[in-house]
Structure formats: C-alpha cells, structure tokens
Symmetry: C2
Subunit: 235 residues, 2 copies
DNA sequence: ACCCAAGTGGTACCTAGGTAGCTGTTCTTG
DNA sequence: CAAGAACAGCTACCTAGGTACCACTTGGGT
C-alpha cells in the first residue's frame, strides 16, 4: 500500500494504537504499512489454520472468533474473540506446527495482510518486537489457563455471569467485544449450548441482574452479577 | 554453585539436555549454573504463584503439576505436568501480572533455582534465548488450546483414552510422565473426579484396552484405545 | 410490502457424570 | 511390625446441563 491510499492515515493510526505494536517507532510502522494490503471479509467468512498460516493479519475493524469444534457433534468452543489492534496468527509466526483451529468473522472485518515471511523479516529488524510478542503471548496464556479450567471448576451460570463482568466497560457500563452476539455465540464462549444460555439469560433477567432486548444485553445490577460469578448467590 | 559441587556435572548435563535452553552455548550454561542453587522438594510440596514469582526454577528430576482449583468445591484441574528440563514460572519471567495458579510436586523434586532478576539479566545477555522462549510459549499455547476445548468437545471416556495415547512411549509402549499417578491425579488431568476415572478405567479393562495393577496402567490394545479417542467406538 | 432466514423463548425429556458412602487392600511411617 | 493413611473398586442416588422440539418475533433483502 502506498501513502496516497485514501485510508492510509486511518490504517497507520490503527497500527499505532495496537497493543501488539505499541513499542514500535512511527517510521517502522510506516514501513510495515507499506508492505501491507487491505482486505475486507464479510461477516461469517470462515478460514482454517491452513488458510491463515502463510499470511499474517492485522485487524483494523470488526471482530473475529478463534474456535475449535467437534465435527461429530457440531459443538464449538470459542477460545478468543479478536478485534481492532489484534493480530493473527501469532503462533504461525513462531514456526510452531499448525494447530487445528478455525477462524470466523463475527462482523464485517477489515484486515491488513502481509506475507508471513515478510512479517518475520520485519520483526527481525526491530528486536524490540520480540519482547512485545512475548508479552502478548504471556497475556494470552493467562487467559487460556482460565478458559481451560473454567469449565470444570464453575457452573454454566457462573461462567455466563463472569463473561458479562469481564466484558463490561467500567465507564459506560455497556458490554464491549461481545455485544450484539446471538445466544449461539455466547454459548460457544462459555463452552455450552444455545438453549442453556437462553435458559440462564432468563434466570438473570428474573433476578434483575440484566435486561434484554434483541441481541442486546444490558447489565442492570452489578452486585447480583458479582455474587453469582463468585458463587455466593444461591438462586 | 561452584564447579566443585558433587552434582555439578549432572546438573550441567541436565541444562544441556533441556529443550528450553537448547540453543545456548556450553559457556553460557556454565555461567548460568554458577548462579544457581540446588534445592530438594519432597513430594506434595505446595506453592502458590506468589511463592514462585520471585524465583526462577529449573527441574532436574521429578514431576510437578501446575493446576487451578475451586476452593468451594475442592475440584482441581491440572493444566501441565512439568518434568526434567522444564522451567517455571515462564510467565513471571515476562512481568505479566501474577496468575492464581498452584504448584505441587508429584514426586520428590530436584530443582535448580535462581532469582528472577538474575535470570532476566542472563537472558538479556543471550538474545537467542528470546526466540527459545517464544517457541516454548508457542508450544504451551497449543497444548492449552486443546485442554481448554477438550472438556466441552469430548466425553470423559474419550479424554481419558486420549490422555493415555498422548503419554505412551512409541518404543516401549509404556506410559511416561503420567505413570504411577493415583486416580485422583488422572482425574485432575482430564477435568473430572476420581470416581468417574475409576469407573472408566473399569470400562477400558473390560474391553481389553488396558490392564491395571496398583498405580500402574498398561496399554494392551492401541487400536481400541484409538477408536475410543476418535469417538468411533460405541461401548 | 412481503418473505424468508435468523434469532429467541419455552417445554419436555434424558443421560453423563458428579456426590456420597462403604469396603477391602496396599503402602508407609513411627 | 503394627497402625493408619492412601488408594482402588463398587454401589446407589441425583442433578446440571445437553438434545430435540415447536412457536413466535424480527429484520434484511428483493
């Protein structure tokens, strides 16, 4: 992409605001952007790990879920929801064996892409990136540990309450990242099925913790939600 | 530790054989060992993340489980079993916020320890280490993704069969890493409870997949185990 | 404006697996 | 070597949550 592109300034700003690239100089980011190509994915675009192994992606806008599934039962478990400023796939960047993970756009997705090899070269020119990647992976690791143990250690209701709390904006008290998701997707996030989520949403409505309009959950009472998430609330 | 220590050669060999330190030169490893202190933990020694945050450990012999638990119910879920050549805690090394994970020795444990700050300094002198850590984290990440989704995507029987297959030595056909573990610990590894594991072990015995003597599981029939793990076997 | 697909709410049923408890056996430690 | 702790096996029971429906609502596209 050349700097005369209509969206160039917006893309550059997105790179600058990314947690993954936060330690990089403006010059190095401009160089990176020059090597990148913009691409739009429509909602529900599906990719497997093979598809994304040879190209590195940076998300400018929209959300992408990373999930595993059991083809026999059709069950899915979402591991991460990536959004603006996130990149994928970091693991392919490290030459690790491909992992059988799936990727699906939750919204219209705007990404910048670059070949994996070019990205590796770029990184090697900026040693500070190694630290940034380490930090990024460390954080993801922590999240993953919680996800891994949540299912066995907590009930679905507790996990749902915890999910809402985790994604609430402290200021506006509105849901972020997981707003406007259908029950199906929420189910994938806590490792259960749609009908169970629907059931629990009714429960949370009944006790006044939340209110619901189509595809939209509003948190009404943080205290109740907290006590449920901490397993102190006996419904 | 000085080179005149009785165990010095054995410790140095352990460092050399570690996957984590595999790219380091013999000289750098000797320097590292000089900064380290040996320590012995008896079986069932318990540590929380605070205890291990300020000291970096290298395992010379024995096994250590890394787990999360729900104090209310007493349930535990083991995330990793670390053994010879493994190090902990890598996450503390990266300055990430402490994660509430617990550590417990499964056997008598022989570790080499070094202060976290000294370890950071040592790493910064050998840039090749950054790549090694990245690779190590990447691998762990993959494992974690599977652990995270296994519980929702597969039944306990399938997970048990998969656990056995994953830890079988191709040559000797004997279990490694998880041999001699009580049912309790096996339960923690697949995110269930002792009695369920015991139940499934009886099932696997009955269909001829394994045989059991006290604290010891012998795999008798790989094919059956495989078909169970792939959910093709209807018991 | 209309239609159809996507999404939600609700019900009834069922089973995997968690809980509790007891027994006999085998290590281990004083 | 004796006592008790740790461990495996087994039974009976119970419930969280998964499966399978159907009916109603909504909103985007033609």
């Amino acid at each position: 992409m050349t700097p005369d592109n209509n969206h160039y300034p917006r893309y550059l700003l997105a790179l600058k605001q990314s947690a993954f690239l936060k330690d990089s100089s403006p010059e190095s980011l401009a160089r990176l952007l020059n090597l990148m190509t913009a691409e739009h994915w429509r909602a529900k675009t599906f990719k497997n790990s093979m598809d994304v192994a040879s190209t590195f992606h940076f998300i400018v806008s929209g959300r992408l879920k990373v999930f595993k599934s059991n083809p026999d039962t059709g069950r899915e478990h979402t591991v991460f929801v990536l959004s603006k400023g996130d990149v994928f796939d970091v693991l392919s960047l490290l030459d690790t064996d491909p992992n059988d993970v799936y990727w699906e756009a939750l919204d219209k997705l705007e990404v910048l892409k670059i070949s994996m090899d070019q990205m590796r070269l770029w990184i090697n020119e900026y040693p500070v990136m190694h630290k940034a990647i380490l930090y990024y992976l460390g954080q993801r690791m922590q999240q993953l540990m919680s996800i891994a143990t949540d299912v066995t250690l907590h009930s679905t209701l507790v996990r749902l309450a915890a999910l809402l709390l985790k994604n609430i904006n402290g200021e506006t008290r509105k849901l972020e990242l997981i707003n406007n998701l259908p029950n199906d997707e929420i189910a994938g996030l806590i490792g259960t099925t749609r009908s169970v989520v629907s059931r629990h949403i009714q429960e949370l409505k009944r006790c006044g913790a939340i209110s619901v309009s189509r595809r939209k959950i509003n948190v009404k009472n943080l205290e109740i939600l907290l006590s449920i998430a901490e397993e102190k609330h006996i419904p």
